[in-house]
């Protein structure tokens, strides 16, 4: 009985997994079809495999350039968020008092504000100081991303005893040395979590880049995809090939780091 039950659950699970994957399967299978074949039937396997769609979509997406833009913005933003959030959280955790409590409260409460509520003035103000560019975008990611990251770092830092810092300071180290050589290496597990959460968010973000760096040549993958899709909206063979190219880097990354990713996301959500 027990065994039968277990098999039943396993079969239900597998059926659900197949349903879950079917949109990806259908996207990939149809991306190899000609325009005509998609028009007549989307369920069959392609009669003739064609890679032309991919060649064309790759060119239209200017994919190497677009990919490089996404990569640059994500890596720089995430690194800056890690460096400055961990430093900020360290300061807040080491000097307890009214000021620190207030600042911590301010960071946490800023998470209540949805992006749409600051979006209009934000674009206006940054436009006034001529910062609607990559640097401005990265700076904005620091502003929007630091709160959650500080919150996560703060939790871990509180469990690291202060006596460790004090011993190092008596030995003649300054605060920067204490933080970078002793404390920061101990934060590695939470740094992985912070990096994963911010990477998923920034890599996939569409709205902020669309408002800040909406210029030809600066487009990130989601931004480029939006215009590409608009242009080829009834040409599914190209659109599907483009979509497949766009998600490929994510799937490859997931394949290599799935354990850390799932763990990181779960930690970030539960806290």
């Amino acid at each position: 009985m027990k065994r039968v039950q277990r098999y039943m659950i396993e079969i239900i699970g597998i059926i659900l997994a197949v349903i879950w994957l079917s949109p990806f399967y259908l996207m990939i299978v149809n991306s190899f079809k000609t325009k005509r074949e998609i028009f007549t039937d989307t369920l069959r396997f392609p009669e003739i495999f064609t890679f032309d769609n991919y060649a064309e979509a790759f060119k239209q997406l200017d994919f190497l350039k677009t990919f490089a833009n996404s990569l640059f913005i994500t890596i720089v933003s995430v690194s800056i968020i890690i460096i400055f959030s961990s430093m900020g959280a360290y300061a807040l955790s080491r000097r307890k008092g009214k000021i620190s409590s207030f600042l911590f409260f301010a960071f946490v409460s800023s998470m209540l504000i949805p992006f749409q509520s600051v979006m209009i003035p934000l674009v206006y103000i940054f436009g006034q100081v001529d910062m609607l560019n990559k640097i401005g975008l990265i700076f904005m990611y620091l502003g929007f991303g630091c709160s959650l990251s500080i919150f996560l770092y703060h939790g871990t830092l509180n469990s690291i005893p202060k006596s460790l810092d004090e011993a190092a300071i008596i030995d003649g180290a300054n605060r920067f040395q204490v933080f970078w050589y002793i404390i920061f290496p101990m934060l590695k597990p939470i740094t992985v979590t912070v990096a994963i959460l911010n990477t998923i968010w920034i890599w996939n973000d569409y709205l902020l880049p669309s408002l800040v760096i909406n210029k030809e040549g600066m487009h990130t993958i989601p931004l480029k995809m939006f215009f590409f899709f608009g242009e080829y909206t009834k040409q599914w063979h190209l659109a599907l090939a483009g979509l497949t190219i766009a998600i490929l880097p994510v799937i490859i990354g997931y394949f290599f780091a799935q354990k850390q990713i799932i763990k990181g996301v779960s930690e970030g959500a539960v806290k």
Partner: protein, 286 residues
């Protein structure tokens, strides 16, 4: 003493400057603008609560709000139902547990914009093909009516977020001591009783987390809305975030859009603060 203060502010200044200039100042400005006739360049006078009064008469805003509320309620139910079901399946002692988790979680890594485009293909083309094959009329013309637009959005959202919520439930489920379940089994509790009296109470905190997380995520939805239906047909599937965006950047009514954004903030903040309240209450009870 002085030196001690110096390092403190040095460490904090980058994040403080970023937070103040990216969130705090725009938020304050936004609040101020919402009471003026600001047009995106300048404001000439105070208009008091004029915009706010106007919002309650704005048919488009009200219908977006209503659509968003309906969508959020349906999504919260579907996501949590699927999320918990998936979590219960993959935490059983089955061989494919790991790979199933990987599969169910995957949609979360891909941006909402791209997912919406993929599903547009599924709803419009694949559904039509299945409809032709099996002769089911209701599978044709998806996303071209308000109802199919609504359910399309709900399906995409549930498909994407169920895996995320699954991960949260798993974290709690795996913390349940196995000895407890075994002891209950020895005492003659059947699997339903074990779920009802042991698993369920211990997973209860996960409900609070998941419920509010899905609620605020559904409420704030933008990317999927933009790419799947674009608000159409005839703005019937336009959610609040998109309505605000359109008022600001398509219709150029900046101050008016900003007062909608303030209302939006108040609703989202109330949702989140309710969660904080429930969490605190639970902590006190424990």
């Amino acid at each position: 003493m002085k030196k001690q203060t110096l390092w403190y502010w040095l460490f904090l200044s980058p994040v403080l400057i970023a937070l103040i200039s990216v969130v705090v100042i725009p938020f304050m400005f936004g609040l101020y603008y919402s009471f003026t006739d600001w047009n995106g360049i300048q404001s000439t006078k105070f208009v008091g609560f004029e915009h706010y009064m106007e919002i309650f008469k704005d048919k488009e805003f009200i219908s977006s709000l209503w659509f968003t509320v309906k969508f959020s309620i349906v999504s919260v139910i579907l996501i949590n139902f699927f999320g918990l079901s998936l979590a219960l399946i993959v935490t059983q002692n089955i061989k494919t547990s790991k790979i199933l988790r990987t599969v169910f979680f995957m949609p979360n890594l891909i941006g909402g914009l791209i997912l919406g485009f993929i599903w547009q293909f599924i709803f419009i083309k694949v559904f039509a093909s299945i409809g032709d094959l099996l002769n089911i009329e209701s599978l044709r013309g998806w996303l071209s009516t308000p109802e199919t637009g609504f359910w399309g959005l709900a399906i995409v959202m549930s498909w994407q977020m169920a895996g995320y919520i699954m991960v949260i439930y798993i974290a709690y489920l795996e913390n349940i001591p196995q000895e407890l379940l075994e002891a209950a089994a020895i005492d003659g509790a059947n699997s339903f009783q074990r779920f009802r009296y042991i698993t369920f109470p211990l997973v209860a905190p996960a409900f609070t987390v998941s419920l509010f997380l899905t609620l605020s995520n559904s409420f704030k939805l933008y990317d999927q809305n933009l790419s799947l239906t674009g608000g159409g047909p005839y703005n019937s599937t336009q959610m609040l975030a998109m309505e605000i965006f359109k008022t600001a950047f398509s219709e150029n009514q900046m101050a008016y859009a900003q007062s909608k954004a303030v209302i939006f903030f108040i609703i989202v903040a109330v949702i989140s603060l309710t969660q904080v309240y429930f969490n605190k209450k639970r902590e006190v009870e424990m």
